[in-house]
């Protein structure tokens, strides 16, 4: 068990820099997700940690050991692939035993370790089968057993659940979290699924264009996104243009909102993020909240939730999510509504230069 440190890691491909000066310190036993859209460099980082790609610059350390120039087989890592990458010509037992055999184990000790690993992923008794005889979820569990059996210092996951259907994915998330807790292995988990990252991780590292946007606990990422990118990537926020005016944020001439974000710099152009689920359609009578008058433009029913598009101010729109069973579940288009938003849910961030 060791911590994992990336120090000013860079990866360049001829003219393109896909990872730009990334520094990241992951504590021993910690579960960290790399989250971002495809092409943000998260998989490249994972593969550099595994040793499958050479970094163009910087250092990677596992524990006290500089592994930057070591081949994958000298790093003592476990990698779980998106495609599972099981050895199709070997039985489940031999798949799991592969890493142990490379460490010179054999006989009863080896069988015991394989059995232990298979039991951990609840596949005891499946040893004699071949990967093709297993379901997708079972294959994924074999891949995990194979990765953990040699007791690696660091576990790496490359979008391991994205090939599974939604229900199975939920089960596997819980399984994976339980497993990681039991073993206490430092884990780096790459995903583009924000819900997965938030629910599994101790800390989440949000990336864009090869740069870390924010590295923090899931709650912080969700509640206090550091940049406009993080705010727009996490959750389903409304994104509006605004201007700072007298300690408030103005959406247009009439509409001003209170916020707990930094509102300094009069006249500064900003972006305002309000989450769909943070907007209330019920009158609370609380004086400290923002009240926004609007008109329902569209209603969309999706079972437990109803979504409304509400026209506010002169020409802006907010998407509002409400429980369909509540009093606000049955508003018709054209109906005037009063929206309430708590100042802490109005996020004001500097406008990004790039759109």
């Amino acid at each position: 068990m060791s911590n994992l440190t990336l120090d000013h890691v860079v990866k360049r491909y001829s003219s393109v820099t896909v990872v730009k000066d990334v520094s990241l310190a992951i504590d021993e036993g910690e579960f960290v997700s790399l989250l971002g859209p495809s092409g943000c460099g998260k998989t490249t980082i994972l593969r550099m940690v595994a040793g499958l790609i050479d970094p163009s610059g910087g250092t990677i350390r596992i524990g006290d050991r500089d592994v930057t120039r070591l081949p994958p087989n000298k790093r003592n890592i476990g990698l779980v692939f998106q495609s599972y990458a099981l050895f199709p010509h070997l039985t489940v037992h031999e798949n799991v035993a592969f890493g142990l055999r490379r460490k010179g184990q054999s006989g009863a000790a080896l069988d015991a370790r394989v059995g232990e690993a298979l039991a951990m992923v609840r596949l005891a008794g499946y040893g004699e089968r071949y990967p093709r005889q297993l379901s997708g979820g079972q294959q994924q569990r074999v891949a995990m057993a194979r990765a953990i059996a040699p007791r690696p210092n660091v576990l790496l996951f490359d979008e391991p659940l994205s090939n599974l259907d939604a229900k199975l994915r939920d089960e596997m998330q819980i399984e994976l979290k339980r497993l990681q807790r039991e073993l206490g292995i430092t884990t780096l988990f790459v995903t583009h699924d924000q819900a997965e990252a938030l629910s599994l991780s101790d800390r989440v590292c949000v990336m864009q264009d090869g740069v870390i946007q924010q590295f923090a606990e899931p709650e912080t990422i969700y509640r206090r996104p550091a940049t406009a990118f993080v705010a727009s990537f996490i959750g389903k926020p409304n994104r509006l243009a605004g201007t700072i005016r007298g300690g408030r944020v103005a959406l247009d001439e009439q509409l001003e909102l209170r916020s707990e974000s930094d509102l300094s710099g009069d006249g500064r152009p900003v972006e305002v993020f309000i989450r769909q689920e943070a907007i209330s359609l019920a009158a609370s009578g609380d004086e400290s909240v923002n009240r926004i008058a609007g008109t329902v433009a569209l209603r969309s029913f999706s079972g437990p939730q109803v979504k409304y598009v509400v026209r506010i101010g002169s020409d802006q729109e907010l998407v509002v999510e409400a429980p369909s069973s509540g009093p606000a579940g049955d508003l018709a288009p054209g109906q005037p509504v009063m929206l309430e938003v708590h100042p802490q849910d109005v996020l004001v961030l500097s406008r990004e230069t790039a759109p």
Binding site: G51, L52, P71, N73, F81, L86, H89, R102, K103, A147
Partner: protein
């Protein structure tokens, strides 16, 4: 159309084509049992004396031995070189991979006679002539495309991350290849090796330019015997070749199911 069975005319034509294609083989096999001293169909009488003649004739035995040594040697060398080259080409380890692949495959397209003449000139220029080594090198050139083709096809059929998985689990590059990639591409390689072997065994146009008197191979001997007048021993040796080929293909298919890669 729910009925997947071919109609009667289609079946008839297919059968006729198959029979037509097999007629030369049938003729040769039948002729080898004839008691006459010339080739004739249907065979007159029934005898195994031509087989005996072949198997006691030192010229034939020497040629069979030459051919086998050459085919096994060329296939072994082609296998090592071809698999290594295919792996590098497939992994795009080299610049100009596409061009190199075309270059390696070119002996399939260029007429064999041209290759034969070209190699003769080349070996004369560099001062290598009329020896087993020359013949072996030439046969490597003409057999390597079969190995490369089947190896590339097999490699493209496997998930490359399995080898990465092996490396992450503590196997060095060669061990990962040996324990994971190689077993997965084996059926394709067996198919390629068989093609390579057969190509070397039956080659006339390249061999005839390069073989010295002591390197006469079986097809060259058959070729020259036919020129000098045909007796059924030629048919007998051909029959032996056919039987050997059928047996090899049968067992290779049983062991590896290689037909998927042909």
């Amino acid at each position: 159309m729910n009925d997947q069975r071919p109609t009667l005319p289609v079946t008839t034509i297919a059968l006729l084509v198959v029979v037509f294609l097999q007629i030369p083989v049938i003729v040769v096999v039948l002729a080898s049992f004839s008691e006459t001293s010339y080739l004739t169909i249907p065979p007159q009488g029934l005898t195994l004396k031509w087989f005996e003649a072949v198997l006691t004739d030192s010229a034939y035995l020497g040629a069979i031995r030459n051919s086998l040594v050459l085919a096994i040697g060329a296939t072994t060398i082609s296998m090592v070189l071809g698999v290594a080259a295919s792996y590098a080409l497939f992994r795009k380890m080299l610049p100009g991979s596409e061009a190199l692949t075309s270059l390696l495959m070119s002996p399939l397209i260029i007429p064999s006679v041209v290759i034969g003449v070209a190699l003769l000139q080349y070996f004369t220029l560099v001062g290598l002539r009329g020896g087993f080594v020359v013949l072996l090198l030439a046969h490597v050139v003409i057999t390597v495309p079969y190995i490369v083709r089947s190896a590339l096809a097999s490699l493209s059929g496997i998930d490359l991350s399995v080898e990465e998985a092996a490396r992450c689990l503590g196997a060095d590059g060669f061990t990962a290849f040996r324990l994971v990639t190689l077993p997965l591409i084996k059926p394709g390689l067996v198919a390629g090796a068989l093609f390579s072997f057969v190509t070397s065994m039956e080659n006339v146009p390249v061999t005839i330019f390069l073989a010295g008197p002591r390197q006469t191979t079986l097809p060259i001997l058959i070729f020259t015997s036919v020129e000098m007048g045909v007796d059924p021993s030629v048919a007998a040796v051909s029959t032996l070749l056919i039987i050997a080929t059928v047996l090899v293909l049968f067992f290779a298919e049983r062991w590896t199911g290689f037909h998927r890669f042909v």
